[in-house]
C-alpha cells in the first residue's frame, strides 16, 4: 500500500484515537488548515505527550526563581535588579540530516527563546554527541559541519560561545545530538511574558519573510525515528540567517526597552500555529489571524503552509492599537519587516482568515491543552541494550600507557580544535574562557576603568553544561543525578553557587518499554539531585525518538546550570599556578570502573553499577571548594571527572604548564570515576590547612609515585593532538 492511500491524519502523524478525539472536540471533521495545525500542536515535539506527566516530578521552585518552566525561557534573580534567563534545547534530528544548518538554526532558535523573554543573549553553550570519529567518516563530517554551523550563527550575531561539551559513542552514529543553550541578561522590569493580553490589541509579525522552509519539521523530523531515505527530508530543515536575527534581536530589545509590547513570542517549531496558539492559551484569549497579510518569500503559498512554515528569524508581538505606528517605526529603523496580521479577541477561539475569508477556527484549549498525554510503560531491560567496542588498550597495560590513551581519547582530549572556531569574548564579559576553568565565568556589570584593581567586587555568573550517556546507561537514576552533581561541581571550581538549571532529555523511542524505563528513572534521578543540592529546574526541552535501526542512543540527559559568584576577580581556574604549592584531594571519592572511560578503552559495555553517593558529603565538598576559591586560598580547583584522578591531575598540569608529584591514597584506582564528588585543588601549605595533601606542584613531569612518570611536554602533546589529529 502506498503512503498516499493512508487517511490524511495518519500521514500527518496522528493516531486514529487522536483523530477521534479531535472530531469529538470539534463536533465535526477538521478542515485542511485545521488538521495541519492540530497535527503539529499534537505532535510529540509540541505537546510533550510522552513526557509531560514525568516532568511534573522535577522541582521547579526556589528562592531565586523569577520565571519557571512554561515561558520561552526560565529566569533567576542574580541581584542588583538583574535577571538571568536561560534554556537548553535540542536540534538533533535536523542536524542529523543537514548538520551545518541544523546546528546553526538550533543556536538561532534558542537565542530567540531568550530574547523573547526580554533578555539580551550574553552566552551560548553547546552539548554535542557523535559516533566514533576515529572510525566514522560520517561522524567527522557531522562534527565539522555542526561546529561550523554553531560558529557561523553565534559569531555572526555577536553572542559569545563560552563553553560546551562533546562526547563520541557508537550509539550516536546515526543519531547525533546537538543541544544548544543560551543565557541572557535582563533588568527585572524587562522580563516579558508570551501571554497575549488585551482584547482588541493588534498582533504584529516581524522579522524574516515566510517561505516554505521547514514545513512540518517538528512533526516530521522531531517526532519519529530516523531511518532510510532521510535525504528526502532535507527540505524540512530550515536555513539560518544570523544577520536577520541580529537585527531582529536589537529591534525586539529596543521595542521592549521602550515599553511598546504587551507580549512577545518567538516563532519556532510549528511556526505561527504554535506561537500564536500558545500566546492565546497563556493569555486565556482568542486570536484572529489573516494569513493573507503575512509577507511571503514565495508566492502562492497555501494558508496551511503559511500557518505551519518554520521559516527562521521571526517574532510575534501583541501591541495596543495606539502604539502600532511606533512599533512599526522601530522595526523600520532596524530594517526589519513588520506587519499587523491580526488581533486579540475574547472568543477563546483561534480563527484563521485568508484575505478576510474564514479558513479555520479551532478552540484554543483543543489546540494547546487537549492533546492526550500518555503514560509510559516502563520495563527495565532484560538483556543489555548496548555492547562494548573494540579493545583499544589492554587491561594489563602499564599505567603510563593507559593515561596516555585516556588523554588522547576523543572524549577527553583537548577541544581546542573545536572552540577555536567560536568567538568566546564578544560583549566583553568573559572572565574565564574555554579550558581556563571548569565553568565559564561572565562579569555582570559593564567593565570599565572604575572596576579595576581595588574597586568594588564584580558580581559574576558561572555557567556549565554537562551530560554523560555512558554512565546514565549504566544506571539511569544514579547517572542522571551524577550529571547534576558534576555540573554543580564545575560551578564550585570557579567559586559559584548554583541558582537554577535547565535540562534537555535526549532519549530513544518512549513507546518502547526499556526506553520508557530509562526516561522515567533518569527523571527521578534528576529530581532527587535537584532536591539534594537545592537547585530548581527553570525550563528545558525533551527530545525523544533518537533511534536508528541499530537501536536507541545512550540515554542522554544534558544539564545546563547557572550559578553566581560574588567577585569575578576571584574566579577559580584549572591550571596549577605556582611551583611549590601543595595539592589536596577534597571530597568523598569512591571511584569505580563501570561506565568509565578506561572501561570503554578496554572494550567494556556501559554496564554494572555506579558508586553509591553520600549527598551530605557532596554538599560539604562543594561548599569547601567554593569557599577556598572565593577566599583565594586555592590557586587552582578542578573536579575529578572522566578518566579519574590521574586525568584530573594531568589536566591541571597541562593548563598550568607545570609538573606535579602526587602519591595516591592507599588503594585508590587512578582511573576509576565517581563524578561530581571530588576535587583536586592547589595552594600554599597554610592555605590548605586541614585538607588531605596528596602532592605538590612543580617540575617538568607528572609523577604519580610508584605508578607513572611522564614529561609534561608529552602529556600536553598527547592531550592536544587526540581530537585534532582526527579532524582535517
Amino acid at each position: 500500500m502506498s503512503a498516499g492511500a493512508q487517511p490524511k491524519h495518519r500521514e500527518l502523524g496522528l493516531t486514529d484515537h487522536e483523530y477521534d478525539l479531535i472530531v469529538a472536540g470539534l463536533g465535526r471533521e477538521p478542515g485542511d488548515v485545521e488538521l495541519a495545525m492540530l497535527s503539529l500542536m499534537w505532535s510529540e515535539h509540541c505537546a510533550y505527550k510522552h513526557s509531560k506527566k514525568l516532568l511534573t516530578r522535577l522541582p521547579t521552585e526556589g528562592e531565586h526563581v523569577l520565571v519557571g518552566p512554561g515561558e520561552n525561557a526560565g529566569a533567576v534573580d542574580v541581584g542588583d535588579g538583574l535577571a538571568i534567563a536561560f534554556k537548553v534545547e535540542s536540534h538533533n534530528h535536523p542536524s542529523a540530516v543537514e548538520p551545518f544548518q541544523g546546528a546553526a538554526t538550533g543556536v538561532g532558535g534558542i537565542l530567540r527563546d531568550v530574547f523573547a523573554v526580554g533578555a539580551r543573549p550574553i552566552a551560548v553553550l553547546d552539548s554535542l554527541r557523535f559516533g566514533e570519529p576515529a572510525t566514522s567518516q560520517r561522524s567527522r563530517y557531522l562534527l565539522e559541519h555542526a561546529v561550523a554551523g554553531i560558529g557561523h550563527y553565534g559569531n555572526s550575531i555577536g553572542v559569545p560561545t563560552i563553553g560546551g561539551e562533546i562526547y563520541f559513542e557508537p550509539s550516536y552514529e546515526q543519531n547525533c545530538l546537538i543541544n544548544a543553550m543560551a543565557v541572557g541578561l535582563a533588568p527585572h522590569e524587562r522580563l516579558t511574558s508570551a501571554a497575549a493580553a488585551g482584547v482588541g490589541n493588534v498582533v504584529v509579525l516581524f522579522g524574516a519573510l515566510t517561505g516554505r522552509d521547514g514545513i512540518g519539521g517538528a512533526s516530521v523530523l522531531a517526532s519519529a525515528e530516523l531511518g532510510e531515505g532521510d535525504e528526502a527530508k532535507r527540505p524540512t530543515v530550515q536555513i539560518g540567517d544570523p544577520f536577520t536575527e541580529k537585527k531582529l534581536m536589537e529591534c525586539s530589545l529596543e521595542l521592549l526597552d521602550r515599553g511598546l509590547l504587551a507580549a512577545l513570542q518567538d516563532l519556532g517549531a510549528a511556526g505561527l500555529t504554535s506561537s500564536a496558539s500558545e500566546m492565546a492559551s497563556k493569555g486565556r484569549v482568542g486570536l484572529d489571524i489573516d494569513v493573507g497579510r503575512v509577507p511571503l518569500r514565495e508566492a502562492d503559498m497555501e494558508p496551511f503552509e503559511i500557518m505551519v512554515s518554520e521559516s527562521q528569524e521571526r517574532m510575534l508581538c501583541v501591541v495596543e492599537p495606539g502604539r502600532v505606528p511606533e512599533v512599526l517605526s522601530v522595526c523600520e529603523k532596524w530594517e526589519v519587516p513588520a506587519t499587523a496580521i491580526g488581533e486579540v479577541t475574547e472568543t477563546h477561539s483561534f480563527r484563521i482568515f485568508n484575505d478576510g475569508e474564514l479558513v479555520g477556527e479551532l478552540p484554543v484549549p483543543l489546540l494547546v491543552d487537549d492533546c492526550p498525554l500518555y503514560d509510559l510503560e516502563p520495563e527495565p531491560p532484560t538483556v543489555p541494550l548496548y555492547v562494548g567496542g573494540e579493545q583499544q588498550v589492554a587491561t594489563d597495560a602499564d599505567p603510563a600507557t593507559i593515561l596516555r590513551a585516556l588523554l588522547a581519547s576523543p572524549n577527553i582530549a583537548s577541544r581546542r580544535v573545536v572552540f577555536e572556531q567560536y568567538d568566546p569574548i564578544v560583549q566583553s564579559r568573559t572572565v574565564r574562557r574555554p579550558e581556563q576553568a571548569d565553568a565559564a565565568v561572565l562579569a555582570l556589570p559593564v567593565l570599565s576603568a572604575a572596576t579595576g584593581v581595588g574597586g568594588a567586587p564584580i558580581p559574576a555568573i558561572a555557567v556549565s553544561i554537562d551530560g554523560n550517556g555512558r554512565r546514565v546507561a549504566v544506571d539511569p537514576r544514579a547517572g542522571a543525578a551524577e550529571v547534576v552533581y558534576e555540573c554543580a561541581a564545575n560551578l564550585a571550581c570557579v567559586g559559584a553557587e548554583p541558582l537554577g538549571l535547565t535540562n534537555c532529555l535526549n532519549f530513544g523511542n518512549p513507546e518502547k518499554p526499556h526506553v520508557a524505563w530509562q526516561l522515567s528513572e533518569a527523571v527521578d534521578g534528576l529530581a532527587q539531585a535537584c532536591r539534594d543540592l537545592d537547585v530548581p529546574v527553570v525550563g528545558g526541552n525533551v527530545s525523544l525518538y533518537n533511534e536508528s535501526p541499530d537501536g536507541p542512543i545512550l540515554p542522554t540527559p544534558v544539564i545546563g546550570m547557572v550559578g553566581k559568584l560574588p567577585d569575578a576577580r576571584r574566579a577559580g581556574q584549572i591550571g596549577f599556578a605556582n611551583p611549590g604549592d601543595r595539592i589536596a584531594l577534597i571530597g568523598e571519592f569512591n571511584p569505580s570502573r563501570d561506565g568509565s572511560e578506561v572501561a570503554k578503552l578496554h572494550g567494556s559495555a556501559p554496564a554494572g553499577a555506579l558508586p553509591a553517593k553520600d549527598v551530605s558529603a557532596i554538599r560539604v565538598a562543594h561548599a569547601r571548594v567554593r569557599e577556598g576559591v572565593r577566599a583565594k586560598d586555592f590557586a587552582s580547583a578542578h573536579d575529578i571527572a572522566e578518566g579519574g584522578i590521574a586525568v584530573a591531575v594531568a589536566e591541571c598540569c597541562i593548563a598550568g604548564g607545570v609538573g606535579a608529584v602526587i602519591r595516591l591514597p592507599e588503594g585508590l584506582d587512578p582511573f576509576g570515576e565517581d563524578l561530581g564528588t571530588a576535587f583536586i585543588v592547589s595552594g600554599a601549605t597554610e592555605a590548605l590547612d586541614g585538607l588531605p595533601i596528596i602532592g605538590a606542584v612543580g617540575g617538568h613531569a607528572l609523577i604519580i609515585t610508584d605508578l607513572l612518570e611522564i614529561p609534561i611536554s608529552e602529556v600536553s602533546a598527547v592531550h592536544a593532538g587526540g581530537l585534532s589529529a582526527l579532524l582535517s
Partner: protein, 216 residues
C-alpha cells in the same frame, strides 16, 4: 577627546569598542544611516559581520551614508581605526591598500596571538610596547596586497593565525592617519578578561589627538 564608533547593521563589537575607548576619553556610537560624525576627534570602525558579510566582508558597509563622511574625515587627516571587519571595510572603501582574504584554514579562528609593533611612530602605536598580545577572531583575515604597504603590526613567529602575507596583522595608509588591524585591541583592555595590551592603542590615539589640539 571624543571617539565615534560606527554601528552598521550586523556590527558586533561596537559596544566593546565604545567601552574600550571610554577608558581613555569620551565615546559615542554613530549610526550607519547618519552622515553627521558629531564632531568626534577619531573614528573607530569596529568588528562584526556588517550586513551579514554574505557578500565579500565589508563590501556593502562601504556604501553606507556614514562612510562618505568617514572618507571625507580621513582625507582631511582625521584619525580612523578599523578593527577586524572595520579593517575589511576600510580596504573596501579604498582608505587602506590591499584586501582581506579568507583564512588559509577556511575556518573561523579565535586565538590569543603575539605580535610585534614594527612601527611605533604612528598616531596609533606611539604608546605601544614593542610586542602586544591580542585576541583575533575572524573568518577572512588573510591580508594581501600586491603593492608595498606600510606595515605596523606583524604576527610573531608561529603566531600567524590566517596565513597573511609577510605575517601582516595591521597597516597604515601613506598619510599615516588610517590604521587597520585584524586583532582586537578593544578586547584586551582589562586583565580580568585577558590582557591589557590593547589599551595602549587607544592611549596612543588619545595622545596624538591631544598633541594636535595643543599644536592647533
Amino acid at each position: 577627546m571624543k571617539f565615534g564608533v560606527i554601528r552598521f547593521p550586523g556590527t558586533c563589537d561596537d559596544v566593546d569598542a565604545q567601552l574600550a575607548a571610554a577608558r581613555v576619553g569620551e565615546a559615542e556610537l554613530l549610526w550607519h544611516g547618519d552622515r553627521d560624525l558629531k564632531g568626534v576627534d577619531a573614528v573607530v570602525v569596529p568588528g562584526g559581520f556588517s550586513y551579514g558579510d554574505y557578500l565579500r566582508a565589508g563590501a556593502i558597509a562601504r556604501f553606507a551614508p556614514v562612510m562618505e563622511s568617514v572618507i571625507e574625515f580621513a582625507n582631511e587627516g582625521g584619525l580612523v581605526l578599523g578593527i577586524c571587519n572595520g579593517f575589511q571595510i576600510l580596504c573596501e572603501a579604498g582608505l587602506l591598500p590591499g584586501a582581506l582574504l579568507d583564512n588559509e584554514s577556511l575556518k573561523f579562528v579565535f586565538r590569543q596571538v603575539q605580535m610585534d609593533v614594527v612601527d611605533r611612530n604612528t598616531p596609533f602605536t606611539r604608546n605601544c610596547p614593542p610586542t602586544l598580545s591580542l585576541p583575533v577572531k575572524h573568518m577572512s583575515g588573510r591580508y594581501y596586497s600586491p603593492e608595498p604597504v606600510q606595515v605596523v603590526l606583524r604576527y610573531a613567529a608561529d603566531h600567524n593565525p590566517n596565513g597573511s602575507q609577510d605575517d601582516i596583522a595591521g597597516v597604515v595608509n601613506i598619510a599615516g592617519n588610517v590604521f587597520g588591524l585584524m586583532p582586537h585591541p578593544e578586547h584586551a583592555v582589562d586583565p580580568l578578561t585577558g590582557s591589557e595590551d590593547g589599551l595602549t592603542i587607544f592611549e596612543s590615539i588619545r595622545a596624538a589627538v591631544d598633541e594636535r589640539v595643543r599644536v592647533a
